[in-house]
Amino acid sequence: MTNTWYFYLFFSAGLIFAGLYALLSKRNLIRLLIAIEVISKGVSLVLLATGFAKGNILVAQAMVVTFIVVEVSLVATALAIIINIYRHTKSLDVRKLVRLKG
């Protein structure tokens, strides 16, 4: 793989790390969703950088476009769930969601 691939991979690894760290440590539900968005950015960067490094930019773009559509659906569903949770608990704190023991 060409050197530019590693270059982009370096940045997207940082993004994914930041997103995962936030998922583990943050408490506000909406902030958790923002963390998911950051992870998605990292993933779409990897996808596109791979296509760029191989010269297959069109297939990579098709993948990224589809992934973004999936992401929108996901965010919409997640926000619907969050709003419903807010209606129940009047709070956006994930620590209020501990009735189930997991």
């Binding site: 690894a13 930041a18 936030a22 950015k41 779409s44 659906s73």
Partner: protein, 160 residues
């Protein structure tokens, strides 16, 4: 290359800000700026369609959805985040970046790749003719999202 590096650093910076800013609205806007920068990065890689999608959908639509939700769930009382996690993050992040750089350096030339042939067609052809099943999947996931929102916001009589 310099411009690309600057854009990438900027994007990572704004993403990290989006996670750690206290005010949710500012966090959402920071996320939008990061998406904008990512879209520009995509443009400069030659992926104009992905760039357009990233800017209009992620920086536009998703930010609007976020701001809508933030407005609807405006308690007035803040969720107290763990201060320890916030303080420790820069340390962890710097350590990770160093490990990351070393790993990438070590992996240089180590990942084998087959040479790939020239790409045929335009983006439209590749998407519509080459990856048609993805489009069916997109329709499926859009339907799923729409019906999910309809189901989750339906008028309910007391259940549970």
């Amino acid at each position: 290359m310099i411009v690309q590096t600057a854009l990438l650093i900027g994007m990572v910076l704004f993403s990290v800000l989006a996670i750690f800013l206290k005010d949710l609205i500012r966090a959402a806007i920071s996320l939008a700026v990061a998406s904008l920068l990512l879209g520009i990065i995509f443009f400069r890689m030659g992926a104009s369609y992905a760039g357009v999608f990233e800017i209009s959908v992620v920086a536009g639509l998703i930010t609007v959805l976020f701001i809508l939700t933030i407005a609807l769930t405006n308690t007035g009382e803040e969720v107290r985040e763990s201060r320890l996690a916030n303080v420790v993050f820069p340390l962890f992040f710097v350590v990770f970046v160093i490990i990351d750089a070393l790993v990438m350096k070590g992996l240089l030339q180590k990942v084998p790749a087959l040479p790939s042939g020239p790409e045929a067609g335009t983006f439209g052809e590749v998407l519509w003719k080459g990856r048609t099943l993805d489009l069916v999947g997109q329709i499926g996931v859009i339907l799923a999202g729409v019906f999910s929102v309809l189901a989750l916001f339906r008028k309910r009589d007391k259940h549970d």
